[in-house]
Symmetry: C2
C-alpha cells in the first residue's frame, strides 16, 4: 500500500520506454473498465485516477507476460486489475491515514467525503475481480485467485501496520512481515500475473513473484530511510515525518533490537511528542547507531534476492533486462 508517486520520484531518470508503453497499452483499458461503474461513482474515480499514477505495477504485469514468451498485450487485463486494486488501496489508505493530498490534488475522501471514498474503493477492488472473471478461461481464473490472495495479504499488512502503531517496539522480523504484506504482496502479484495469464509453468511464475516480493521489500526499506533522512524537496514530506508520526519503520525496528547499540534515550524520545529538534536528535541517534546503514543493507540484500530470482528460471532476455532496470530504478539511492 505504497503510492506510485513515492515509488517513482521526480528528478530521477525514468524507464520511460516501459512506463510509456504501459500507460499506452493499459490506460485506455482502465478507462473503459471505469465506464462500467455506477455513474454516481465515476466522478470520484476519475478525480483519483486523473491525478496521475506511473503505471509501475502495470508495467511489471506486461513485462512478466513478455518474460515468459508472451506478448505484452496478453497482460493488459491483468495490468488493469492490478492497477484497480492498487488504487483501491490508495483511496482507502488515505482515509485511514487522514491524508489530505495525493498527486497534488485533494484525496478522494477530502474532496467527496469519507462515505463516498469508502464505496469508491469498494467498487474498484470488486471491479478488478469482475474483469478477470468475466471471461473465465483457466489462466484468467488463476490470475483472479492470485489477485484475491494478494489483496488479502495487502490488507493484512495494513492491519499489522495499524496494530503496530500502538506498540512501543517491534522486531525487525515483524516489521519486514508487515512491509512484505503492505508493499511486497501486490508487487509479487504484478510481477507474475502476466506470466500466469500466458500460462507459464509454476516454477517460472513463482520466480517472478519472488522477484516482485523482494523488490517490494527493497523499495520499502529505502522508502523508510527516505522517510527519516530524505530531502523534503524530493520526497514532498517534512524531514523526519515518519518519526514525528511514530511510524514503526525498519530503521526504528533495527535500532530497537537488542544489542543494536542505540542509546537508551532514543526509545523514550521516539515514544513522546517530538519537537523539530527532537526529530533531528532522534535521526542523528539512529544514524550513529548504524540503523540507517543496516536498513540500506537490508534493502540491498532484497534487491539482490530480487535480481537473483530472475536468474533461477529461463526467461526472455529483453523483458528480463527491463525487469532488472525497473528494480534498479525503484530502489535508486541517489536522491
Amino acid at each position: 500500500m505504497t503510492t506510485a508517486a513515492s515509488i517513482v520520484r521526480p528528478g530521477l531518470p525514468t524507464p520511460t520506454g516501459l512506463l510509456g508503453r504501459a500507460r499506452w497499452l493499459v490506460a485506455p483499458a482502465l478507462d473503459e473498465a471505469v465506464l462500467r461503474l455506477s455513474p454516481e461513482l465515476r466522478s470520484a474515480v476519475r478525480h483519483h485516477l486523473d491525478g496521475g499514477g506511473k503505471f509501475v505495477r502495470a508495467g511489471l504485469v506486461l513485462l512478466s507476460a513478455a518474460a515468459v514468451g508472451g506478448e505484452e498485450r496478453d497482460g493488459v487485463v491483468g495490468a488493469v486489475a492490478v492497477e484497480l486494486v492498487h488504487n483501491f488501496s490508495l483511496v482507502h489508505d488515505d482515509i485511514i491515514d487522514g491524508d489530505l493530498e495525493r498527486r497534488h490534488r485533494p484525496t478522494v475522501w477530502a474532496e467527496y467525503g469519507i462515505g463516498q471514498a469508502i464505496i469508491t474503493g469498494d467498487a474498484l477492488v470488486t471491479l478488478a475481480l469482475q474483469l478477470l472473471l468475466e471471461e473465465p478461461t483457466p489462466t484468467r481464473v488463476a490470475a483472479a485467485g492470485r489477485l484475491a490472495e494478494a489483496t488479502q495479504e495487502m490488507i493484512s499488512g495494513q492491519a499489522e501496520d495499524m496494530a503496530f502503531e500502538q506498540r512501543p517496539e517491534l522486531s525487525v522480523e515483524e516489521c519486514l512481515h508487515m512491509e512484505t504484506g503492505k508493499t511486497g504482496a501486490l508487487l509479487a502479484c504484478a510481477a507474475s500475473l502476466g506470466a500466469v495469464l500466458v500460462g507459464a509453468p509454476a516454477p517460472v511464475v513463482d520466480a517472478l513473484a519472488d522477484f516482485g516480493r523482494h523488490l517490494g521489500i527493497a523499495f520499502q526499506a529505502i522508502d523508510d530511510v527516505l522517510g527519516i533522512w530524505g530531502d523534503p524537496g524530493v520526497t514532498g514530506k517534512p524531514v523526519g515525518n515518519d518519526l514525528r508520526l511514530h511510524k514503526k519503520t525498519l530503521p526504528v525496528a533495527v535500532a530497537s533490537a537488542p544489542g543494536s547499540g542505540a542509546p537508551e534515550a532514543l526509545a523514550s524520545l521516539l515514544s513522546a511528542e517530538l519537537s523539530d529538534s527532537d526529530v533531528e536528535r532522534a535521526a542523528r541517534m539512529l544514524e550513529e547507531c548504524g540503523a540507517r546503514e543496516r536498513t540500506m543493507a537490508i534493502g540491498e540484500t532484497h534487491l539482490r534476492a530480487a535480481l537473483g530470482a530472475l536468474e533461477r528460471v529461463p526467461l526472455q532476455l529483453q523483458a528480463t533486462a527491463e525487469l532488472a532496470a525497473i528494480a534498479h530504478y525503484v530502489t535508486a539511492r541517489d536522491r
Copy 2:
C-alpha cells in the same frame, strides 16, 4: 444493503427449520473462513459476527441448491461467501450512515475506529471471492463471477442512495432501481448461487435469481413503510425515522410523483428540519394521499412476481415450498 436484523424482526414466527439448518451448516464454515484472516482483524470481525445475524441469505443459497436437485450442503461455500459479502456491506454502511449500534452492540467503527472498520470490510469481501476461487471448478468460478457482479450492483445501489439524499425529489422508477441494487442484487445472487454451484441450467438459475430480486424489492417496500409507520417497539427505531433523515424511500417517491394527490405543503415539509409534530404531520399527509397503500401494493406486486418466478421452471417441491415460506416471512405485514 439491509440488515438481517431488519429482515427478520423479533416477535414474528421464524421459519426456524430452515434458518436453524442454515446456521448449523454455514456458521462453522464461516468461522473457519474467518480464521484465515489476519489475527489483527479477527477481533473486529468476531465482534461483528457474534452480534447475531439470521442467516436468511445463507438459507436462500442452501435452498437454491436443493431446489434444483442438489444437497443443501452443496451450497455451503456459496452461503459462506454471500454472508461475508453481506457483512462487508453492513460494516461499511454503518460507517457511511454513522450508525452507532447494530445487533444491540456497538458497530465495528464505533468500537474499533473508522480505519479498522474499513479494512475489516475490505477483508470480508476479499475473503468471499478467495473462498470460491481456491478450488476453481467451473461451477465455483461461475459463482464467484456472479457474486462479484452482485457486489458491484449493491455498491452502485449504495452510491445512488447517497446521491439521492442530495436531491429534492426522486421518481418511483429511480427509487426502485436504487433499492433493486441495494437489496435485490445480493438476494438475487443468494437465491440462485446454490443452483449455480450444483450446475443447474441457465433458465433455472435465472428464475431463482428473479425470485430473489423481486423478493428484495418487496421486502424493501415494506421496510420503507415500516421506516415511517412502524412500531418503534418492533423496528427498534424512532417513529418516522426515515422522514427525519430525509431518506428518499418509496412512499416519498410515490407521493412526489405528478398527480399523486399529495398536498403541496408535503414537499416543503419533507425538505426542512422536522420536529416531532412535523414528522407526524408528514406521515399523515403521506398516508392520506395513499402513498402508504400504493407502496404496499408495489411490495405485493413484487412478492407475487417472486412467487411467480418459482413457477416458471421445474423445481424440487419441498425446497420450493420453503423458498415461498421465506418470501412470505420476510414480507409479513402483521407487525
